[in-house]
């Protein structure tokens, strides 16, 4: 083993250790912040019948209320402690695919719905954006003609399209997919056009001298040359699509991880919301890693 590689390894090990340390610190802060303070003195509290009744209705066991008054803890609510969080995670992971009718499904099924929606909207966007990007990239005239439209449409928040989509498409499921479509189309379109326009002139000139047919030119010269840029666009699009799906599903409801968050928010069940947030983060990371791999595969050295 050469010394260079050994140094790199040591570096990676150190980074991993540092990550773990940061995680431990964060969990430690969480634990301390949710720790319930313990009172020193234990005053004797006598409760009237009405107070006991009231406490019961407030979801506090009167027997433990006296104890609570002694220890200084108050009620439930608030941020979950680490152990409550652990219970929530374990419960959700224990049966990720249960199905209690249309309004109550396991987190695994909800994720599948979200991924399906993102996949479909994203695929449709790719089918439109990449060919169109090719055309725009190859023809400066079309590029200039379409540019104002793209510039205006691009910054519109995808959720702003939702009411319009619901009104015109008249179907909330398809509207959700449309929103994914519209938000993931722009980075792909612009990056494809940019990549195609940026193919080195020498390569095109060589192809022309060799009298390569247009189809072959597109697939064997331009596409491989522009591929890294196109994939960057696709990676950005996927990131945005995954951001938007959660918001869209919270708005439209029904199914999906966004609906799961919304439904648990209704119940003010923070442990479940935090669990869903973690799941959304992890899935987003996996999607991004997938595109990073693809990107690596098509990158070339000039």
């Amino acid at each position: 083993m050469n010394p260079g590689m050994q140094a790199a390894r040591q570096e990676a090990l150190k980074a991993a250790l540092l990550s773990l340390l940061i995680l431990a610190v964060l969990l430690g802060i969480w634990h301390l912040a949710t720790l319930q303070p313990k009172a020193v003195a234990a005053p004797v509290v006598a409760l009237t019948a009405e107070q006991i009744e009231y406490a019961k209705l407030m979801g506090k066991d009167p027997a433990s209320l006296a104890a609570n008054a002694a220890t200084g803890t108050s009620g439930k609510s608030g941020f979950p402690t680490l152990s409550q969080m652990g219970v929530a995670i374990a419960r959700n992971l224990a049966s990720p695919f249960y199905d209690n009718g249309p309004n109550d499904k396991g987190v695994g099924l909800q994720l599948a719905y979200s991924l399906g929606r993102v996949g479909l909207g994203y695929l449709l966007a790719a089918l439109v954006a990449i060919p169109l990007g090719f055309v725009i990239g190859m023809s400066p005239l079309i590029y200039r003609a379409l540019d104002p439209f793209i510039q205006v449409l691009k910054p519109i928040s995808p959720l702003a399209w939702m009411p319009l989509a619901l009104y015109t498409i008249k179907d909330s499921a398809i509207s959700g997919i449309f929103v994914i479509f519209i938000c993931s189309i722009w980075p792909m379109l612009i990056n494809t056009a940019f990549g195609v326009a940026g193919v080195r002139k020498e390569w095109l000139n060589v192809a022309r001298t060799l009298e390569v047919k247009p189809q072959r030119l597109a697939f064997e010269v331009i596409l491989p040359a522009a591929a890294p840029t196109i994939l960057t666009g696709m990676r950005i699009s996927m990131g945005i699509a995954w951001l938007v799906i959660v918001a869209a599903e919270m708005l439209v409801g029904g199914t999906g991880i966004g609906y799961f968050v919304w439904n648990e928010w209704n119940n003010l069940s923070l442990p479940n919301v935090i669990f869903a947030v973690l799941v959304i983060g992890i899935v987003g990371m996996l999607l991004d890693l997938m595109f990073a791999r693809l990107q690596k595969a098509v990158t070339y050295v000039d």
């Binding site: 009231y54 209705l57 209690n100 909330s172 708005l251 919304w262 003010l268």
Partner: protein
Amino acid sequence: MPVFEPTTDLTPSAYDPYDADRPLMLRCGCGADHAPPAHATASLEAEPLGRSFMEAALVKALFPQDRVRRAFLKGVGRRTAMAALGSVLPLASLQAMAEEKKPLEKKELKIGFIPITCASPLIMADPLGFYRQQGLTVQLMKTAGWALIRDKIMNKEVDATHFLSPMPLAISLGLGSAAQAMNVATVQNVNGQAITLANKHKGNRDPKNWKGFKFAIPFEYSMHNFLLRYYLAEAGLNPDTDVQLRVTPPAEMVAILRAGNIDGFLGPDPFNQRAVFEEVGFIHILSREIWDGHPCCAFGVPASFIESNPNTFAALYRSVLTAAAMARKPENRELIAKVISPAQYLNQPEAVLTQVLTGKFADGLGNVRTVPERADFDPVPWQSMAVWMLTQMKRWGYLKGDVNYKQVAEKVFLITDAKKYMKELGQPVPDGAYKKFKVMGKEFDAAKADDYLKSFAISKA
């Protein structure tokens, strides 16, 4: 118990089970399944069995020996016998079910709902099997907000829906959406709302001091909006200029109250009680203190659904009315709280729902209050109440120009149908369609709606 109605007063039919002088023959001597006098026609076409046949079959079952039946009838008399049997047998509903031989046009239905206790009857009808009983397979679709409820019913993504009772009026008139004829089959619930304020206002209970407050309401076309505006205007505040009213989905009200974005809300339960349970707010007043017996949510369908699915609509009607009758009884409330609390329905702690439905609750100020009328489920779609909603829409500028109140109310609120099906199910049927009522002490008479509208000091009309 169902009211037993004599069916054979005028012309005794061939099956008359209360005729002591004739044998009770249900089948023809030829052995086929028809009555003796109908031998000629029955062999040609299969007649739907009439109501008297149902009764005859039941009496036959009670008195297998005709001799005993005749003796019984001679002994007690025809009317007494009919009344006595009517009190032990659910004849009316059995007959209604038998009449439902008509095929359902659509058996699988989707019904939209918002997860609030207002929707209790249509939600509980699912786990308690009231839809199945009528041959319907229903999928309840939980929906995120009222605007989406409107879009989904207008787009036919759901067949029937739970909505705020002013919504079908607004949709039918094309207010806030394209115009589409909507119908209210039943009111879902009466009362059951409250004004909840943030804990920091515990010392500020007089609405006159509420200038600058921010309130959440579930939707513009909601009783919540109209009741809150009414209440504030009575205290001399102009709801359009003196306070801020924010449209917020019910489910989000507690969360934003906790976050301090609003000072309070007039919202549906269980969120008032949930705010108390979470110790973020207290119940200032129950909505019944503004108008006792006010309607809130309704159950309805687009008019086009009734046209193309009359029998399915009838079955749906019966399911929901059956559920409403059960929900009205105080002794069932704890059971209802249990069946509607799971994640696929309300997704709320049962302890909160029980307080809302039984009316024994903690008010957030340290008192236990007992108000059994806190929530009720009177299904009658009073047309006078529709007229009141229209006057309020005019009062606050949602509805401009002249409106024929009664025409709109009668087109949208199907009180005649409701009464018909209530009668069929043997439920007590109310009189009239324009019941009078009082809002904050002031009587409303639908016949004098225009004078009523003119009587308000704060108004845009």
